[in-house]
């Protein structure tokens, strides 16, 4: 695996993160100390800044202030290419609408997650993920020919292909009915724990809160 080795007991640690939009600070992220195998919910009303916070945690959009450590690495002190690498190799992302690449197969979507990060998908790990998430039978199917539930499971598998230290999920259940939301959360929690990653779920979905170890609320600021 890549050059990011974690010795810290935390996979994510933030201090004093302030978020801005249009030059104005509008939200504060409560300090996060996320240990491997733990699941934390980030709650807040619509517009509270959950997605903006995840962008900062993923190294996509800088916070106005504060520090974000993924493992031992201070995310925002890395150069842009280093941040891209760190994100690809150490952070798994699950999006609200899954965002698979329609033009290629399920397996290719998973392999892409590895190759985009400059890694090769380990065959054994890939197979385990396909089996755990019950997508072995559809591994060669093109991503635009999947059911909603299958697409979700592929998205979860993709987030875990590179054995990330941290998984960030943005409203993974908001579009789902109770049964599916339950199933997805259980799966996500189980797989993330098995893999020893930390999971942060941004959500205002009350159903998600039952599955987590702790929850933090976005705070208004400015």
């Amino acid at each position: 695996m890549g050059g990011f080795v974690t010795t810290s007991p935390h996979c994510l640690r933030t201090r004093g993160v302030l978020l801005d939009r249009d030059g104005r600070v509008f939200a504060r992220l409560p300090d996060v100390d996320l240990a491997p195998g733990r699941i934390v919910a980030l709650t807040g009303t619509s517009g509270a800044g959950k997605t903006t916070a995840l962008l900062a945690l993923a190294g996509i959009r800088p916070p106005r202030e504060g520090s974000i450590q993924v493992g031992d690495t201070d995310l925002w002190s890395l150069p842009p290419s280093g941040r891209d690498r760190l994100r690809g190799q150490r952070i798994g992302l699950v999006f609200q609408s899954f965002h698979l690449i329609d033009a290629v197969s399920v397996e290719e979507n998973l392999r892409l997650a590895a190759s985009c990060a400059g890694l090769r998908a380990e065959p054994g790990h890939l197979q385990t993920l396909l089996e755990t998430l019950d997508i072995v039978a559809i591994r060669h199917r093109r991503a635009d020919r999947l059911s909603q539930g299958q697409a979700q499971r592929v998205a979860v598998a993709r987030a875990l292909v590179n054995r990330p230290a941290l998984v960030l999920a943005d409203e993974p259940t908001s579009a789902l009915d109770d049964g599916n939301a339950r199933a997805l959360l259980d799966l996500l929690a189980r797989v993330v724990r098995e893999q020893g990653a930390g999971l942060l779920i941004a959500t205002h979905d009350r159903r998600a809160l039952d599955a987590v170890d702790a929850s933090l609320a976005m705070e208004a600021a400015g």
Binding site: T51, R85, H99, A103, E108, L112
Partner: protein
């Protein structure tokens, strides 16, 4: 990143547009390649077709007509020259060999040429089978004429009046084949040679034919013997500087040098060559432009996918490489299709040219041609990819987190 695989997958999703770019690009490639081959091979083929003919002497008139009629044998003769005076003009130490030719009849579109055995010296031709004629109404067939007409030593045939098909048959005067020539690569291969007396015999007053056949030879019924033209080969290239002028200075004769006429023709053909090249380049440019707009549209339609790849850790230039790879694949497709089309159609065009104009053209593109086409295709691909690639590289990652 798996650039090639992704680019291919993306291309397949918009195969209609991709196919259009490939077809238009292939047309450009084919046009440019055809011009390149033609420009190089046609003069060579013409030179081969001349055989060893350095000079043609005919009646006053266009030198080009003379070459087309009496060396390449693709057009009709314009008149006659008196045989003896014509041969006298070429009685010169610088002339290695001279032979008259008398045109008038044909068999199944192959010209029957009345001449003397010296013509074999001029064309450096050898007998493949049989022997040269020893009497009128005996014939020696060029290799191609023998093959297409199925002639062998001992076979007989009758000529038709005129150089095209449909002329009246000279049924009273069948020819007997005495020999077949080895291939020379020149226009000679398509001709049937006979003693010049045969032509006089057949075309004199029918009533006198028997008398002529008996060996009295002579005029075509009126006046002294004539020929369509006289061919000559030189001992040294220096003759080219003197002899044509010497001939042109006479009152009755014009001289034409096949080599000079082709050079002149090639110069006259330059605008055509340039025009076809321009059309080819235009096609290639249109292909590149359609590919570029289609690619740009495709890349912005894929903003979400590209942002996702960035979110997964891909560098901006890796995203740009996808656009470049797609364009390169289109260019490679156009290149392969264009070259294959020329390879498929060129032999057909070449056989048409051989049949109609007696030009034996080698149609295989050279490595240099292919290198030039590949460089052009690559340049077109890079030009087509530039804008879409830069735009794709700048795709903001944030879009991916929006539902």
């Amino acid at each position: 990143m798996r650039t090639m695989g992704l680019a291919w997958a993306f291309l397949r999703r918009r195969w209609g547009q991709a196919l259009l770019s490939v077809i238009v690009g292939a047309l450009g490639v084919a046009a440019v390649e055809t011009v390149a081959i033609a420009e190089r091979e046609l003069p060579k083929a013409a030179e081969r077709a001349f055989g060893g003919v350095d000079l043609v002497v005919g009646p006053k008139g266009s030198a080009l007509d003379l070459v087309l009629c009496c060396v390449l044998h693709v057009s009709d003769p314009r008149g006659l020259v008196p045989l003896k005076e014509g041969m006298d003009v070429l009685r010169n130490p610088m002339v290695a060999a001279a032979a008259p030719i008398a045109l008038g009849d044909s068999v199944h579109g192959r010209r029957i040429v009345g001449t003397t055995p010296d013509i074999l010296t001029i064309y450096r031709a050898h007998m493949a089978q049989g022997a040269i004629w020893t009497a009128p109404l005996q014939a020696v067939a060029g290799s191609d004429a023998a093959r297409t007409l199925g002639l062998k030593p001992g076979a007989t045939f009758v000529g038709n009046h005129g150089l095209g098909p449909g002329g009246e048959e000279h049924a009273k005067f069948p020819y007997t084949v005495t020999g077949i020539l080895a291939p020379t690569g020149s226009a000679l291969d398509r001709l049937i040679l006979t003693d010049i007396q045969s032509v006089y015999i057949i075309h004199r007053d029918p009533d006198d034919a028997e008398e002529a056949k008996a060996g009295q030879g002579g005029p075509t019924g009126f006046g002294p013997p004539a020929a369509t033209a006289i061919l000559a080969s030189f001992r040294s290239p220096v003759a080219m500087a003197f002899l044509p002028r010497l001939v042109d200075a006479t009152e009755r004769f014009s001289a034409a040098s096949p080599a000079m006429e082709t050079a002149r023709l090639a110069r006259a053909g330059r605008p055509v060559i340039l025009a076809v090249t321009a059309v080819g380049v235009l096609f290639a440019a249109i292909a590149a432009a359609t590919a570029a707009t289609a690619l740009a549209a495709a890349m912005s339609g894929r903003a979400r996918d590209l942002a996702l790849l960035r979110a997964l850790g891909a560098h901006p230039w890796e995203i740009a490489a996808i656009a470049a790879a797609e364009a390169a694949m289109l260019a490679a497709g156009a290149l392969a299709t264009g070259v294959a089309a020329v390879a498929g159609l060129a032999p057909w065009g070449a056989s048409l040219l051989a049949e109609r104009d007696g030009l034996l053209v080698t149609v295989a593109p050279t490595g240099q041609d292919l290198a030039m086409l590949a460089a052009g295709a690559l340049a077109a691909a890079l030009a087509a990819a530039a804008v879409p690639a830069l735009r794709a590289a700048r795709a903001p990652i944030e879009t991916v987190l929006k539902a």
